[in-house]
């Protein structure tokens, strides 16, 4: 093809150097805070430090899934593809963060409570949420036509996101009605712990933003390649 026009998505650097630096610094600070600066918890010991990443990953996952919702609504109203790209990017990154939650949970639980999985309210909810958005991603692989796929994903994404508070409440109330032997979690939060938690969350959000941006770009490029391919096929190239 002669006369290349610079594709919109390809112009400019994906992520600016300063932002990468900021995220890196945040992560470094959070790691230092979590592993060294925060006081060691009384009963659980060093293992408890994983809590900062566990909880902040969950919160970050929520933010990502809310973005799936926003992307879905925006796509249905404007039909601009970029919102669909945002939705899929956010869903994948959200699933990644919830995978971290599901992995760090057992790692924390085993040495502290002796069992890998406790089916407590939070872990159960996280698991269901993870499954929910994995289903979202599976749905996308099963619809080939881009516009169709965007519409059905937007609708399902909206339903899935609306389900989040309902999932949490129902599981929480259920556990309240059927109390398990006390297994609890982080216990009391020292002031320093609180700060480290917030710092961890900020760091995780930074990582989330970077990952979503990268994934969004990938989707945009993929979309362009598909379009070019289709045009070429049409012109018999």
């Amino acid at each position: 093809m002669g006369g290349q026009k610079q594709s919109r998505a390809a112009s400019g650097a994906v992520i600016s150097a300063p932002s990468i630096l900021v995220v890196f610094l945040l992560l470094a600070a959070a790691s230092y805070g979590a592993l060294i600066w925060a006081p060691t918890e009384n009963t659980m010991g060093i293992v408890q430090r994983i809590f900062y990443f566990h909880v902040s990953s969950a919160w970050t996952g929520f933010v990502a899934f809310i973005m799936v919702f926003i992307g879905g609504v925006a796509y249905l109203r404007t039909r601009a593809q970029k919102w669909d790209w945002l939705s899929v990017a956010s869903a994948e990154v959200g699933v990644a963060f919830f995978t971290i939650v599901l992995v760090t949970g057992p790692i924390w639980a085993k040495p502290v409570w002796g069992i890998w999985w406790t089916w407590d309210a939070r872990m159960s909810s996280s698991f269901l949420l993870w499954v929910l958005f994995v289903s979202y991603l599976v749905l996308r692989t099963l619809v080939d036509e881009p516009e169709r796929r965007a519409i059905v994903s937007a609708v399902f994404g909206i339903f899935a996101a609306l389900d989040i508070p309902l999932v949490y409440f129902s599981i929480w109330w259920f556990r309240t009605q059927h109390p398990q032997p006390v297994i609890g979690d982080g216990g009391k939060l020292d002031a320093r712990m609180g700060w480290v938690l917030l710092l961890s969350w900020a760091a995780m959000l930074g990582v989330m933003a970077v990952l979503i941006r990268l994934r969004y770009r990938l989707e945009a490029l993929r979309s362009e390649v598909d379009a070019i391919r289709m045009e070429a096929a049409r012109n018999g190239v």
Partner: protein, 224 residues
């Protein structure tokens, strides 16, 4: 043509088609029975255990049955592209969804009501004294299943592997319905004087949220 009128016409058509063949009804009932039988092998069905596990297994069976039976809702509109015929008519597109939701609700509720005596027998529970409350729980839970399931049926109809996809999409989303319906059923059966207020309010919330969501975005699924 008003939304209510059009919904009524479509509802009537769905019911007529379904009851003409009754094959889906029969198959669904048999399926629920199979699930109940198999579940009974997984625990010792004494009276106390039945009361604890029975309702959960019953609702699980309803959910599975629903996610299989709801497939046909939009699949059958692909034959001869009758969905296009519905969209050509001067009606609110949501009425197509609403009519099918209503039909699926009635249909599923019918299956559930038919299964109640079997449930009473197999799990040794007395359902007659609490029949009105039970019916309330069944209705609220089934609204959630039917509303969400019908929308997802429209989604799955446009994808590959739709037989597997509908349960995959529906079951996680209905997690809260499973929990609340089960707990409400247990509540009603174990203590008839006590009204499981929280769970029933929650179920109503679920239904309202998803019916509203379906109303707002459902029709986009029907577009071309």
């Amino acid at each position: 043509m008003t939304l209510a009128r059009a919904t009524g016409v479509i509802l009537a058509k769905e019911l007529r088609t379904e009851f003409r063949s009754r094959e889906l009804l029969g198959t669904t009932i048999v399926f629920v029975l199979i699930v109940i039988v198999l579940f009974s092998f997984t625990f010792n069905p004494t009276s106390t255990e039945s009361r604890r596990f029975g309702p959960g297994l019953l609702w699980l069976a309803f959910l599975f049955a629903g996610s299989l039976m709801l497939q046909s809702s939009f699949l059958r509109e692909q034959t001869n592209d009758t969905l296009a015929a519905l969209r050509l008519a001067p009606i609110d597109p949501f009425s197509i969804l609403a009519g099918k939701m209503a039909a699926n609700f009635l249909f599923l509720l019918l299956v559930e009501v038919i299964m109640l005596p079997a449930f009473a027998v197999f799990y040794n529970v007395a359902i007659i004294p609490v029949l009105p409350q039970l019916l309330l729980v069944l209705s609220l839970g089934t609204i959630g299943i039917a509303a969400t399931g019908t929308v997802f049926s429209a989604v799955a109809a446009q994808a590959r592997l739709r037989e597997l996809l509908l349960p995959l999409l529906l079951l996680p989303v209905l997690g809260p319905v499973l929990i609340s319906s089960t707990e409400a059923t247990i509540g009603v059966l174990s203590d008839p004087s006590e009204f499981p207020r929280v769970w029933l309010t929650f179920l109503t919330c679920f239904d309202v949220v998803f019916l509203t969501a379906a109303w707002m975005v459902g029709e986009y699924l029907l577009e071309e």
